[in-house]
Structures are given as C-alpha cells and as structure tokens.
Symmetry: C2
Subunit: 337 residues, 2 copies
Amino acid sequence: MAEKQMGSATFVLSTTPTILGWGNIGGKKEGEGPLGALFDHISNDSYFGETTWEKAESSMQRQALSVALDKAGQPASNLCALFGGDLMNQCIATSYAARSLNVPLFGVYGACSTMAESLALAAMTLDGGFGDFSAAVASSHFCTAERQYRTPLEYGGQRTPTAQWTATAAGAVVLAKDGPGPYVTHVTAGKVVDRGIKDANNMGAAMAPAAYDTISTHLSDTGRSPDFYDLIVTGDLGDLGARLLRELFARDNVELPRYNDCGLMLYDRKRQDVHCGGSGCGCSASVLTALLLNSVQRGELHHLLFCATGALHSPTALGQGESIPGICHAVAISDTP
Amino acid sequence: MAEKQMGSATFVLSTTPTILGWGNIGGKKEGEGPLGALFDHISNDSYFGETTWEKAESSMQRQALSVALDKAGQPASNLCALFGGDLMNQCIATSYAARSLNVPLFGVYGACSTMAESLALAAMTLDGGFGDFSAAVASSHFCTAERQYRTPLEYGGQRTPTAQWTATAAGAVVLAKDGPGPYVTHVTAGKVVDRGIKDANNMGAAMAPAAYDTISTHLSDTGRSPDFYDLIVTGDLGDLGARLLRELFARDNVELPRYNDCGLMLYDRKRQDVHCGGSGCGCSASVLTALLLNSVQRGELHHLLFCATGALHSPTALGQGESIPGICHAVAISDTP
C-alpha cells in the first residue's frame, strides 16, 4: 500500500495543507437564518445584480472566491489549480465563474458533496507537491435548482414533508502548502452507495447510507472513534437523513456524541419554512466557510470531520425507474498540523 | 514555486506513473470507422443490451473499465480512486457505473475534455503518493447527447456543415505507481478560454482557442518545441477547429509538424456522414485507448501529447445569450519514464 494510503479509502495528507482564506455569500433566506450574521455577504436580490438566476449563481462563486483570495492575501494568479462545481446542468456556475480568472480549472461533479470533493482534491494537489496555493469553490441557488430538478417556480408545486430547501449560497476556500491552519489532515473518498430510494423529495434517506459508509470507513481506516472529533458534520442530510444516520450507527452500537448536519444549521426550521432542512452544494460550502472554519481557527473546534453528501441522480434517470445513488466525501480538519 | 510545478499551469509527475491497462467499447458507426478493428468491443445495438440509451452509456463505462482492469491484471478493489465523467446531465453514466464497484469515486466534469482531466487527476493522485493503482473513465453516446444538448432524434433536425458527430464510445485506463509504461510525465491543466462563439453547432471554433492556450502554455512551461512530440493530438476539434488551431499557431510562426485530432481519426469523413468529425468525451477516450496507447506501447510513438478539449456551455446558458467557454487539458505520455 502507498505511503499516504490508509485502509480502503482514506488518504493521509502528511504535509497538512493549510486553509488560508475562506469566503461566502448567501441569499435573503440564508441571511435571515441563524448563521446570517456570519456570512461575508448577503444579497436580498435573488439575481445578485445579474439578469438571470444562472448568471447570479456564477457571480456568487466569483464573489465567494474573491473574498477567500483577499483573506488569504493571494492573487488568483498564484493558484496552481481551482477545483469547483455546482448543481446546474453542465456545471455552468463554475465554468462561467472561472472564465475571467485565468486559473487552471478542474471541474468536479459530486452533487451536494462538491465542496468536500473540491476541498479534498485541492488539498491533495498541494500535498502531492504540485503547487503552493490551490482553491475550491461550490454553489447552489434555490431558483436554478428547483426549475432544473423539480418544477419551475411559477408552477407553485406543493413540497412534501421530507423535502429540503436548496440553499442560495456559495463558499470558497484558498489553501496553502504552509500556514497557520486550519490544517487538512485526512481525506476519506466516498464510494457510491444506493439503497434503492426513488423519491427525489427524500434525499436525506438516499444519502444517509453513503454518509454512514464514508464515516464508518474513515473511523475504521484511521482507528479513531467518534469521540476524537469535536464535531462530525454531514453535508445536508436534513432532519430525516440525520436521524437515519444515527440509527445506522446505533445498529453498530456506535453513538455520535457530537454530530450535526449543515442542513440543520443553516436555517431555523421553527421560523423558516424549509421542511427537513437545507440542501445544495452551497449549504455545506457556506456552513463550512461562515461558521466551522472560524470555530477551528478560534480553537473552539480542535478536530472537525466535514462530510458533504451528494445525491447522484438526475430527473432523467428517475424517470427511467432508477433509484438515487448517494456519495459522501469526508475531510478531516484540525487546528494542529 | 512547488517542486512539481513548472511555469503557470504544468505539473511534473516525477514518479512517472504507468498506464497499465486500457479498454474501450464503441457503437456500430465507430465499428465501421478506420479504428473499428482496434476496439475491444463493438456493439451494433445502440442500447448495449439495456432498455434506455442512458443506461446503455453507463453500461459502456462499466465494460470499458472492466477490460482495462483485466488487462492491468488488477481487481477494482485495488484502486485507490476512480476519476470519471460524461456529458449527461448530473454525470449519470459515471455515477451509475460506479455504483456496483465499491471504489472511491471522484466525479469530474470537463465536457469533452473529461478523459484528459480524469487521466491527469488519476496520475497526479499516484504521483502524490496516495495509492498504488487508480483509474479514469469517460464516455459519450450519440443518442443521449443529441436529445440533451440539441433536439430529440425523432425530430430529425438538419445538421449544419460545422456540426460534429458525438461518438458512441467509452474508454478507460488503469494506472499504476510502477510499471512498464506508457508513462505519464506531465500534466498541463486547462484554463477557461472564451472567444465569444455562440453557435452550439460550431464547437470546434469554440474550443480551438482553449487548445491553443493549453498547448502553447505546455510548450512554454516545459521549454519543448512541437518537434519534441511524435504526435500532438487534440480531443475533438474536428476539421474546422483543427484548421483554426493551426492558424492560431501560424500567427506565432509555430508549425505543428505532427498534429492530428481525435475527431478526425475516429471516422472516415469521406465515407461516414459526420460533417466536421467526431466529438464527445468518448471520442478522445476511445482514440486514446484503441489506437494511441497501443502505438506508444509498441514504440511507434515515443512522445505523445494528449490534449482533450471541452466546450463548457449548456443549452440554458446559450438560451440566455451566453457564449461558449472552452477548456483543454493536456497530458504528456512517453514510452520512457
């Protein structure tokens, strides 16, 4: 087995790249949520100054990345690579956002797991010795996602109780080979897990088995117990998916003493009509960059396991009778190298 | 600058990972082309034994990967990571193909540049010390691409002279940390380049400037001249795009003495009605795995620069007045480490 490979799917980042800067932007609803005051920017205009929602989402990625670069004190030209993605068909938020950057782009697709996938690859690129700085970005927009995956907003479709609310948000991180932390120490890459869920309005149930697979693989590969982490956070399982994840671990007699889900952290479910919670690439991307990385930097969290989850279906696949495959990528982040 | 970073966008793979096995599958039209006899499998059934074209494309990826693993003499369980993608919305060919594999999956999106992007990341992962074996896979299917990007086949739309034909093909490679070659020596990661082309039936023109940018960056970063390579091959610029690429280099007084395009190699344009040539992720993926890697292995090509090109638009973006951004990732492959 290679020197940095641990167990079946975990990579050790022996040089522990630093997350040097991070930025984000959110929409009106995200601004009204419990993390609203922590965002770098909140826009009450769902078009973010553009003429279409699709262009708005691209602009959100540019703005989040710009803040991350500013905080890192680095120009875009110093990036050896940008990893990014989004939920839109042909990942156009990222492609059009990168158009003005003149930076090598590796587009990724991991559905709502994109922030963890991008962060993982950006960190592995630095750990592999390929550059001094890299970046990761991900976004989602409620209006672009609804009309693409479900029904046009004008249709006014009724939402089911298990539905989640796609976050209008983008988050970006800039990584450096060396720096003061937070440090990326391990990546556990996700495998595709499909337990036969076919309801596109119940993505928590579709993704929970993937989160269970990746987190239990991570714990097994590293020999760590859930106690090691001050917080294990999933991407966006929402209320139902998070309860299913606890149940799956309970079958192994494993408790998750300090566990939360980004989909439950971004909104106040009592006050805000989001049903099972938040979702979308921008959900975990913005919770990571508005709250979690700041907590690690302040020493409030020493060890964080960031596990973004994605549902890898398409409307076409479901129309053809397919079930929803899930994936979850986990990135271990610490305040010490 | 980091030890393995060269110039602005080129990575040196100092351990020169080996491409240990490769496989492919094509459709009827690809079987009738000049490379037909070189494919591992040709299916005259456009459904490849499945009930829908989308499921067919997923099956094609599984079969190409299976052949590559067999030739490499490795079980899937030895792979530290699989990088893969396709043109379908939400990259479902790859996600559903990986469902049965139990292998860590990093989904990528680079439009028709996907084979080079996946191969680049798979090689960088091994060079970074993260595993002993990795894999890359990409596919396209004429029927899934037409109905998604253009019009349903039943519509019988007239094709314009600059149109290309999306290949029904998949290609896969299995890489190893050590082995007898062909060796991956350099990666030049593509930047997004957009010169304002808005015609979705003229992708050669949209992508040629990106190919020019990446190839000239590669030559500048490495200090090599085009003469160094026995073949510089672009992904799928087609006839018009390939001529534009030569023109762009001619402005710099640079000739490309040994240059070809996968879109011109997969079909016989005199006999087969493909207008400007082939396109789609499967075009460069199958030309690489049916012809080029065998030529390197036999010593007929000592140095190959594989430059897959992608058009990063979407029908929605074009409908909103956007132009087509292009990208090109280049991978240098040699018969010596």
